[in-house]
Structures are given as structure tokens and as C-alpha cells.
Symmetry: C2
């Protein structure tokens, strides 16, 4: 049965999409059947794989709001075991439409029921907010993975996403666990990075992944080539960082 | 009469708050009476000035939703001519409550009427989304300033915020202008930065500010000291970059 992992943090630009795309690619290369769901109206996970958002027949919007089957909206990627449920601009109006629906936080959970057993991992790339799209992801998820940029504002925002997780556990999804916090854009030369990393490890000793994703220009260049770093520059520190993270995620799965 | 400038971009982590805080400080140092309004539930502009969000009596939430006068919620900062209208966690529920209100996109515009003539500039720091908080800012604003991170995903998102500006002009605020696009986190050593900068200047020749904000560690360190870079390290390239931007904003004001 596929494990659904929501990749969320309301702080903007912390590495949610970069983590979703590159962790997804790393799991697929490790022979895990993987689905990446783009829950962000910006559609960055979709274009990160070179897919033209404006040329899509079906997207996550149709799956959540128009009763289209998830299988009808799936896109293949260059990696045989990695599929994408893409987003396009329709998603901008999703939160408004969801507001008026009965089961507005369960739409995604219900939609993924039909594909959950076809994948080993399903990753949900969330937008930078705590609105209905992120709530749908947390209700559908088995666990939450929080990318954390090693900067002051990002550290400040960590309690907000963890509070939201707790509220979702209490109200909708008691089995939701914290998969972990992954330190992103770590700059070994900067005191700030080291200080933030130390702070987070002190407060959440068990929850911070050992793998740290360094600031690495290959990670920011690869989306312009429509491919994950693993295909763009496999020897780069960025690609290697996410391979390490995938190994840890798979190890934790074995233990549980 | 104060000029209201919305600082917005739905892409996350591009430098909205850093621009709001440091442009605000630079305008105040240049003897302009300046108000910074924190429209983001994360409250980063508020903590960027060392203000404790949980100790506030009144915040922008009360001004927009509880008919509290803006003057009652103002906070002073270390700079005599710079004031802040702070945000706290109450703002998280603002978009939900605004949904049901008649004049839901005009609440901020109406609230600022009472203070507009006390300031030369009013800056609105927006959250990373195109929801009702950002819409309120665009309806209240005379112009829109778009911070643009010199990265691929950020470049992709530029058309979305400009489309939204056009929709707001057509429906609510015909006088809304584009103040300009400011290149942020520019890394002189990276081809990607140069490529993005070239692309943007080609597409929007008139609208890109000459001032470019370099990636500068002092800008990311200063929030942890609760002060703008101008007070934390005035000789830093980051502080100097924003002084240059302030000069350009003031020059454009003179021309118009
Ligand atoms: N480790 C890294 N090293 C260098 N650049 C990175 C790294 N991780 C992400 N980036 C770049 O930083 C920017 C922000 O990352 P990304 O878009 O993945 O964050 P996000 O949290 O998904 O943003 P949003 O909040 O808008 O959804 C992107 O341009 C990305 O290419
Ligand atoms: N020019 C710069 N050089 C170095 N660091 C920067 C620069 N500008 C911003 N930063 C840092 O990058 C991070 C993102 O910037 P900031 O929070 O201002 O972006 P934002 O657009 O307001 O984010 P959000 O979308 O979450 O509101 C912050 O940690 C900030 O300190
Ligand atoms: Mg993203
Ligand atoms: Mg901000």
C-alpha cells in the first residue's frame, strides 16, 4: 500500500518543490513506484519535469473537483517508475470552490483511494499557505515531511506547520505522523545555517533527518532543463543529498 | 498624500519581506514618513523589527475586520519616521472571514483612508498567494512593486502576478500602476542569475529597476537581530542595494 507523504511548509521558497521533485526521482531510481502530486497552483513540480501546463487535458483540479479519476490525469516522466499528477492554472480557483463543498478537506484523500495501491510512495507538493489545498494534503497523508530553509524567518515558521499538523490529527486524520524535518539550502560557510541547524536539532532531536541538502546551484538550474538534478547532473552535491534523503525515508519505512 | 505600494509576488521566498523592511527603512532614513503594513499571517515584517507578535494589543486583523482605527494599531520602530502596522496569528483566519463580507476586497483600502495623509509612503508586505489578503493590498495600492528572485521558478511566476494586477485594474482599481520589478538575491557568480536578469530586462525593458539587490548574508542575518540591514550593517552590499532602490522609487515619484 502506497505511503502518502505531504511535503508542506507555509513559509515560501524553502525547497518544497525541489524536495518533492528530487526525492521523487531518487525513490524511483531506487525502484520504488512513485507518484508526485502537484497541489500548488504555481505548478512548479509540473514544469520541473518539463511538462507544459497549458497543454494538459486533465489536472489535479479535475481529479479533486470534477470527479475525474486520478488515473486519467497521470503523466509519465523520463523515469519509468515516476509518474506525475500535474497542476495547471485552474487550481487557482480550487480553494474558492472547495469552500462551498461538504467534504471539502477530504476530496484529495478520496481521489487517491483509487491509485494508492499502485504506488509505493505518493508525494504531495504543497503551496506556501495553510489553506484548503494544504489541508487536503494533510488529511490525505500518512505523514508530513517539512523542508526547512536554514534561515531565521523559516525557523520562526516551523511551529505554525507543526501546530497545523496537530489540528489535522485531532480533527480529521489521527494517524498522521511527522516523517521528519529536512534541512535545505544549507550553506557550510554561513554561521546562520549552522545556528539554525543546531537550534532545530536541539528542539526536535529525533525528527531531523541526518541528510542535509546543501545550497547547490545544480538544484536551481535543473528545473530550467525540465529534469530532476539526478538526470541533469547526477554527481552534484544536490542530487547526492536527495539520494541520501530517499535512503533514510526508505529505511524508516522498513522499521515501522 | 501618501503613496501606497503593494509588495507582492505569489512565488514564495523571493524577497518580499526583505524588500518591504529594507526599502521602508531606506525611505525613512531619507526623511520620508513611512508606514509598513504586514499583510502576511507569518508576520515576518513584524518580527523583522523585533516586535513580539504575541504581545500585540491590536494588529492589522483588527483594523481590517474589527473596525479598529489604523492609528490604534501602529507600532513605532527604531527609526523615527518608520511605523509598522503589525500582524499576528489572528490573520490566519482573516481570509475565511473576509469571504463572507460584502466589501471583502476593499476593507484595507477603507482602513488606510484614515492614515494615508500622515505618511509619504505606505508599503504593504504581502503573503505568497493571490488570495483575499493580496487582493486587498492590490485594491488599496497606487502601485505594485514585484520582487523577483533570479531563479527559474520565480521567472515562471512573473506572468501570474502581472495578470492578477491587470484583473484588479479592470475590476476594482483602474489607477493601479506597476511601480517596477526589482531583481533580488542576484548572484554575480551564477549564470542562472545573469540569464534570468537578461530575460526579464528583454521582456520588460522599462519596468525593471536599475538597482539590483545582491545575495548578501547580512540581509538574512539582520532579521534575527530584529533590525533592518541599514541598522545592522549599513556598509553591507544588501543595505546599499536597498538605499539605491529607495532613491529610484523617490525619483520616479518626482517625475510623475
Ligand atoms: N538546495 C538548494 N540549493 C540551491 N537552490 C535551491 C535549493 N533548493 C531550492 N533551490 C531553489 O530555491 C528556489 C526555491 O525553492 P522551491 O521553489 O523548491 O521552494 P518552495 O518551497 O517549493 O517554494 P514555494 O513556497 O513558492 O512553493 C527555487 O528557485 C529552487 O530552484
Ligand atoms: N538579497 C538577499 N540576500 C540573502 N538573503 C536574502 C536576500 N533577500 C532575502 N533573503 C533571505 O531569503 C529568505 C526569503 O526572503 P523573504 O522572507 O524576504 O521572502 P518572501 O518573499 O517575503 O517570503 P514569503 O513568500 O514566505 O513571504 C529569508 O530568509 C531572507 O532573509
Ligand atoms: Mg513550491
Ligand atoms: Mg514574506
Amino acid at each position: 500500500m502506497g505511503k502518502i507523504i505531504a511535503i508542506a511548509n507555509q513559509k515560501g521558497g524553502v525547497g518544497k518543490t525541489t524536495t518533492a521533485v528530487n526525492l521523487g526521482a531518487s525513490l524511483a531510481v531506487a525502484t520504488k513506484r512513485t507518484l508526485l502530486v502537484d497541489m500548488d497552483p504555481q505548478g512548479n513540480s509540473t514544469t520541473g519535469f518539463g511538462i507544459d501546463r497549458d497543454a494538459l487535458n486533465k489536472s489535479i483540479y479535475d481529479v479533486m473537483l470534477e470527479d475525474c479519476f486520478a488515473t486519467e490525469a497521470l503523466c509519465a516522466t523520463e523515469l519509468p517508475l515516476l509518474f506525475l499528477l500535474p497542476a495547471n492554472r485552474d487550481l487557482v480557483s480550487a480553494e474558492l470552490r472547495l469552500m462551498d463543498m461538504e467534504n471539502r478537506v477530504e476530496r484529495l484523500r478520496n481521489a487517491l483511494e483509487t491509485v494508492k495501491n499502485r504506488f509505493d510512495y505518493i508525494l504531495l507538493d504543497c503551496p506556501p499557505s495553510l489553506g484548503l489545498l494544504t489541508l487536503n494534503a494533510l488529511v490525505a497523508a500518512d505523514s508530513l515531511l517539512v523542508p526547512l530553509q536554514c534561515e531565521y524567518y523559516a525557523l520562526e515558521g516551523l511551529s505554525a506547520i507543526l501546530d497545523t499538523m496537530k489540528r489535522v490529527q485531532d480533527a480529521y486524520n489521527p494517524d498522521l505522523q511527522l516523517e521528519g524535518v529536512v534541512l535545505c539550502m544549507y550553506d557550510a560557510r554561513s554561521n546562520l545555517s549552522a545556528q539554525v541547524a543546531e537550534d532545530v536539532r536541539d528542539h526536535f532531536p529525533e525528527q531531523v533527518f541526518r541528510s542535509v541538502i546543501p545550497r547547490n546551484v545544480r538544484l536551481s538550474e535543473s528545473p530550467s532543463h525540465g529534469r530532476p538534478a539526478l538526470l541533469y547532473d547526477p554527481r552534484s552535491k544536490g542530487a547526492q543529498g536527495y539520494l541520501g534523503l530517499a535512503a533514510e525515508v526508505m529505511d524508516r519505512q522498513k522499521e515501522s
